[in-house]
């Protein structure tokens, strides 16, 4: 039987500890190609590079047959892999392991998840993995059995067209992780505070900082609730942004 082809990408850069761990797991399941950004691309959302050029460089961090650092965003990496580097679509795309949570509303800011969403748009089973630990020294070991289980599921049951998984792993030792919960995206947002500073020439500049607010802390069927209870959260994710229920309301007024 032909081994599955697995594309690995991320947003923290091709040599980040999280992607090294993910590639090591993915190798158990198929032939791996790595195409990942040549520099950190956190917070890039679904950005693509249309006003400048893209560059590819072969790398040697992952010890796989094909691995590249790309000058673009995570979404560029997926497009490059599928439409330029690979002769046919991969059987699976895995993105991450992100250093930090991509639960709830973070799905739209996250380069890791945007790569998975782009994979789904291109018709591939895709999964974004994130560990709720922002540290570069984060311990990815406890996540291994859950990542394996979810990869095995996706290889056996290709996800529906246009759908990917947003997987978040709590920052806990293995014996304290309760299992996996399939849940929905919690309603939440960031409340920003701009940290204003002065440069050496007296001009103001700003750092974006913020506080995460869960608007539904009582709900039990969300990714936030699952993570809080010590579960790995899996949110099936798609990209129809239509507010279907609101179409009828504004139709009469706007179409008249």
């Amino acid at each position: 039987m032909k081994r599955p082809k697995i594309l690995v990408t991320n947003d923290d850069g091709v040599s980040a500890p999280g992607i090294l761990h993910l590639t090591a797991i993915a190798k158990n399941y198929g032939d791996v190609i790595v195409v990942a950004p040549n520099k950190p691309q956190s917070g890039m959302g679904h950005a693509i590079t249309i006003n400048s050029t893209l560059h590819l460089q072969k790398t040697n961090y992952h010890h796989v047959a094909e691995e590249y650092a790309c000058s673009g965003t995570p979404v560029d990496c997926v497009k490059m892999a599928i439409n330029h580097l690979l002769p046919e679509k991969p059987d699976l795309i895995v993105s991450g392991i992100n250093h930090g949570s991509n639960s709830s509303i973070n799905v739209i800011y996250s380069g890791t998840m945007s790569a998975a969403v782009e994979g789904a748009l291109e018709g591939c089973s895709s999964i974004g993995f994130s560990l709720c630990d922002y540290s570069h020294e984060a311990d990815f070991e406890a996540s291994t059995p859950f990542i394996k289980k979810i990869i095995e599921y996706a290889l056996q049951h290709p996800l529906p067209q246009g759908t990917c998984f947003n997987v978040n792993i709590p920052k806990l030792p293995l014996h304290l992780i309760s299992g996996i919960k399939v849940v929905r995206q919690a309603k939440a947002n960031w409340v920003e505070r701009f940290d204003e500073r002065q440069d050496p020439y007296g001009r103001s500049y700003y750092w974006l900082t913020g506080e995460f607010i869960n608007f539904e802390p009582e709900a039990s069927d969300t990714d936030e609730a699952a993570l809080k209870a010590g579960y790995v959260s899996v949110v099936p994710t798609q990209v129809d942004l239509t507010a279907h229920a609101f179409i009828a309301t504004c139709k009469t007024k706007l179409e008249q």
Copy 2:
């Protein structure tokens, strides 16, 4: 009665013809503040600036009391305006007029729409406007009565929490525009082709190019269908990316 406060932004940059036209319209309805990127930010999606600093510069393109060029992305501009510059949330956020379509799947790549989505996330009525004409010399005049009607609607009926409008205007003279249709996001995608070239030193580089594919050309209730029939399309847009229908399917296998 207090005049509404209206925030104007875009992704083509603070001095683009589209935003000048939109500000001129917005002035009829309230006190306008402009916070827009200091350079083109097309295709930036929901990117935010977290690995570098942000800078603001006063400008004088719009002849309003407050206008700024921001070094960041369209989403940064909205966050800066709401959380740093304005003492309270604006009554309305308008983004655009984009030079080019943001219908269908383009909503996730578009900086114009990401600014509107961010406004909705921050709890403000928000609208993204795009004209289906990529030219810098595009004629925005025909769009005026439709933009006015939609702004008037949103000021009279604030959109539901977390919801914004994605408005696309066909490239037609006024007498050929059929009216407004409230529709859903068409299922579509881009098929990319990377245009490979050689730099003067013999190294390859790439330009991202692509062809738009509508997966449901027969459907009549989509933004693509409305635009093709000569209508202004309005898609109520929100950011729950959960594939709700798929939760039950994978729950049994993954949670066991």
